[in-house]
């Protein structure tokens, strides 16, 4: 097991190197000039050229890449071209809101989705099943930002139940923290609910059809108990796989949701940085997101052994 983890961690290396190379080239070959943005609209062309030089942007690309990679190896993501702060500090400042949003969204989505999925599977073929699955398809089909604005209008502006926007740090209390996360988590979690509910239903149906379930039924084990204990346990593997895939989905959704609800997270940090061409931030955040994605998938693979004793590495 340890050897397997070590091997997997090692295999992350070439992946991350590829990501680094790809991201760097993407940014530096494309047009857009951070120097012109820094200088502001009233600046003369000469001023802009001087700033470009001061930022080292007139150096050859391969040289800029080497400088970046060599500090990357030391765990240094560089400094923002606009503020003086190191990129690692900026990401750390924004990490709490993004992690909070991801966490509440995941919990919301998994709880709702598994409930829906199990219900649909238990009542397979009935109207309830069809309604749940119909909802799942609709959940896939409505954009996050449309749901977001709808929720804001209904729950924040008309009913005034919840705040419109923003984020309250966990240190100021769990309740204020949660109040700000309810609407974004629902908006972002909807797609996730749809996805997981479908998988749950499908795997549950599969498992229910297996011989041992039939045996269990024949032995007269109570239906609800049977569903929850046997079926759900066996359905865990594919569900966890989807959660692994869903991390990519979540990262994408976070970017949009943070914009709609003005949550000062990592997603907004990078969207703003792209608009301004703050290269070190864009590169740093993409590296971090990619690293998280690879790691989460590693953890998902690990969790198979816990969920299903038959799988061994």
């Amino acid at each position: 097991m340890t050897a397997y983890i070590a091997r997997r961690l090692l295999s992350m290396l070439p992946v991350m190197v590829l990501v680094a190379l790809f991201v760097f080239l993407l940014l530096h070959i494309a047009p857009g000039d951070p120097a012109a943005i820094i200088a502001g609209d009233n600046a003369t062309p000469d001023n802009i050229a001087q700033i470009r030089k001061a930022l080292g942007l007139d150096e050859p690309i391969w040289k800029q890449f080497l400088v970046w990679v060599s500090s990357l190896v030391r765990g240094d993501l560089g400094r923002s071209m606009f503020w003086n702060d190191p990129v690692t500090t900026l990401i750390a400042q924004r990490a709490e809101p993004t992690l909070s949003l991801a966490l509440t969204t995941l919990i919301f989505a998994i709880v709702i989705a598994i409930t829906l999925g199990v219900t649909a599977a238990a009542k397979a073929g009935t109207a309830i099943d069809r309604i749940v699955m119909g909802f799942a398809v609709i959940g896939f089909s409505v954009p996050v930002f449309v749901v977001g604005y709808l929720l804001i209008f209904v729950f924040a502006i008309y009913l005034k139940w919840l705040p419109v926007q923003g984020y309250t740090p966990l240190s100021e209390g769990v309740l204020p923290w949660l109040r700000n996360l309810v609407l974004p988590s629902i908006a972002l979690g909807l797609v996730y609910v749809a996805l997981i509910a479908r998988i749950t239903r499908a795997t549950m149906l599969d498992v229910l059809a297996e011989d041992y379930m039939r045996t269990a039924r024949a032995k007269g084990v109570a239906p609800r108990h049977m569903l929850l204990k046997h079926a759900l346990k066996n359905a865990a593997v594919p569900i966890v796989t989807v959660i692994g895939i869903g991390v990519a989905l979540l990262i994408g959704g976070v970017v949009i949701t943070e914009t709609v609800f003005n949550i000062p997270g990592v997603g907004r940090l990078v969207v703003d940085a792209i608009a301004r061409r703050d290269y070190p931030i864009i590169q740093g955040v993409i590296m971090v997101f990619s690293g998280i994605y690879v790691l989460v998938n590693l953890v998902v693979d690990m969790s198979y052994t816990l969920l299903d004793p038959r799988i061994r590495y």
């Binding site: 047009p31 857009g32 943005i37 502001g40 001061a54 606009f82 419109v164 926007q165 609800f261 608009a275």
Partner: protein
């Protein structure tokens, strides 16, 4: 050391105490909500150095933490601010200034001439107005700790105006240490002598910038006006919140989560006007003037006739309607110096008085020898007004039979591509769209875009020797009347060679909670001194 259960426990407690300590300190230091203002502006602070950049958000930041030698008052007149006594020699060539008492940096050291002189030099290296002045300056020198002089080679009427102006870069004073930074590098510490100080512990770049009242700041005794007079601070804390989405910001203002929103879109004003907790005020009555810049280097706009054709083609009222609806805050702008500015006049504005004239435009394009080549128009898609304007301009150009190629890109791409002097089909361009503050448009020297010095000029590279001659004459003019007269000549000539044209002028009303009072109306800076809450 062996870790026993007991040492581990102690360590744990110590760590907990360390982690808890800063939050306790913070909790004590946090000012009451009644004296805290949360404000949302048009953008994010791109960098802390207001000399390095011309971005307005950085000037807002500068206005909080730094102070100026002079300040423009409500009547657009320069008044002493950090300067106490001052005088000018009889030959008008030597200005002597003495700093007033009680000026202190936030690190506790006093402000001296040794700080002021390098601050002036660094600013003058970056500012268009400063550069213009420096051409005539023989020396800037410290006489003693509180006195310094500016010696001129020739008479120059604008010394106090450029020191006092609010158009960017504003002439903010910094410590010697920062002021001696290479003007092309950014400063790395924020230490000012202004009415507020930046609270770095609570500030999160890109999210919120926290400014606390500077308890050591000694305001002048005179009444505040513009950025002149006593900067008395009634608030404990002002938080600049970055909120890029307008809908979110308006909703947050209505919900009382923020106190002030600088740029509510005109279309959302009805929603705010109906709210009894919200009021709407115009802080910058000169507003903004929208500019269309033709490229002088390439056909068809290397030809005067083609540029004149644009004047007849552009129907400003349509542009204003598209972006602002039937708003009382938007208007047309026939004057080269903007409407409502001291230099506004109506010389050579027949093209405007006659209204849109498609036939005339068509004829002028023909005279210019337009050959059907695609006209490259850059559209900044992430800024609504610019995006709308480009689409309407494209429609108008097509109406007179021009072949228009709209290049959609974000603003970052526009600012890069506009510096490209190549032909439009090789990475260059023909037209781009931007806007400038009305107070800057109203001054032929301060706005970089007003220069017509060809290769050295602002993007579009207009070239006209008469224009340059008149600008210098204006700068050296002795009386306001003389300036107004020269301004008329400049405009008459400008609407002939057309270095740029306008698509309208609009004021941006700010929206705030009704308990926010006494905001001073200033162009291009939002002063948070004098403001009261409750």
């Amino acid at each position: 050391m062996k870790i026993t259960r007991r040492t581990a426990l102690q360590g744990g407690i110590a760590t907990a105490a360390v982690i808890a300590a800063p939050s306790i300190v913070r909790a004590q230091a946090k000012p009451s909500a009644a004296r805290t203002v949360r404000a949302v502006f048009h953008g994010d602070i791109p960098t802390y150095d207001p000399i390095w950049t011309t971005a307005n958000m950085t000037a807002y930041h500068g206005g909080m933490v730094y102070d100026t030698l002079f300040g423009i008052d409500g009547k657009q007149q320069p008044q002493p601010q950090m300067v106490g006594k001052w005088g000018v020699s009889d030959d008008k060539l030597t200005y002597t200034f003495e700093l007033r008492d009680g000026l202190k940096w936030t690190d506790g050291t006093p402000v001296t001439s040794a700080d002021v002189v390098p601050s002036l030099k660094r600013w003058a290296a970056r500012d268009g107005g400063g550069q213009h002045m420096m051409l005539r300056v023989k020396d800037i020198a410290a006489k003693d700790a509180k006195t310094f002089t500016i010696e001129l080679k020739e008479r120059y009427g604008l010394v106090l105006e450029v020191l006092a102006k609010t158009s960017t870069p504003v002439c903010f004073m910094m410590r010697k240490k920062e002021a001696e930074t290479d003007p092309m590098q950014k400063i790395d510490q924020v230490v000012g002598s202004g009415p507020f100080k930046l609270n770095l512990d609570e500030t999160k770049p890109g999210t919120q910038y926290v400014y606390d009242r500077n308890p050591d700041y000694v305001p002048r005794a005179d009444a505040p006006s513009g950025i002149a007079g006593g900067k008395k601070v009634n608030l404990e804390r002002v938080i600049f919140v970055n909120m890029p989405d307008a809908q979110t910001a308006v909703a947050a203002l209505q919900a009382g989560e923020i106190d002030f929103y600088e740029v509510p879109p005109t279309d959302l004003l009805p929603q705010l006007e109906g709210d009894k907790n919200i009021k709407i005020e115009v802080l910058n009555s000169l507003g903004n003037v929208g500019q269309i810049r033709p490229n002088f280097l390439h056909p068809p706009f290397n030809n005067e006739k083609a540029r004149q054709a644009l004047l007849y083609l552009v129907k400003q009222s349509d542009y204003m309607k598209a972006s602002f609806g039937d708003s009382k805050y938007a208007r047309t702008c026939p004057s080269f110096f903007g409407m409502g500015t001291p230099m506004e006049n109506d010389a050579n504005t027949d093209w405007f008085k006659g209204g849109q004239n498609l036939e005339k435009a068509k004829a002028l394009f023909k005279e210019a020898g337009y050959d059907g080549k695609p006209i490259v128009l850059m559209q900044a898609t992430n800024i609504a007004i610019m995006s709308n304007t480009a689409q309407i301009l494209a429609q108008e150009l097509r109406q007179v039979g021009l072949n228009v190629q709209v290049e959609a890109m974000d603003w970052s791409n526009v600012v890069q591509r506009r510096s490209n002097k190549s032909p439009p089909d090789q990475g260059g361009w023909n037209l781009f769209i931007t806007w400038s503050g009305g107070s800057a448009i109203g001054n032929p020297i301060l706005l970089a875009a007003h220069a017509a010095t060809g290769d050295k000029a602002w993007f579009g590279w207009p070239s006209d020797s008469l224009h340059e001659e008149l600008r210098t004459k204006w700068a050296l003019a002795g009386t306001p009347e003389e300036r107004k007269q020269i301004a008329q000549q400049i405009q008459a000539n400008a609407w002939k060679f057309v270095p740029q044209l306008y698509y309208g002028q609009w004021m941006q009303p700010a929206a705030m909670r009704t308990n926010i009072n006494n905001l001073l109306p200033v162009a291009e800076i939002i002063p948070w001194w004098n403001v009261t809450k409750g």
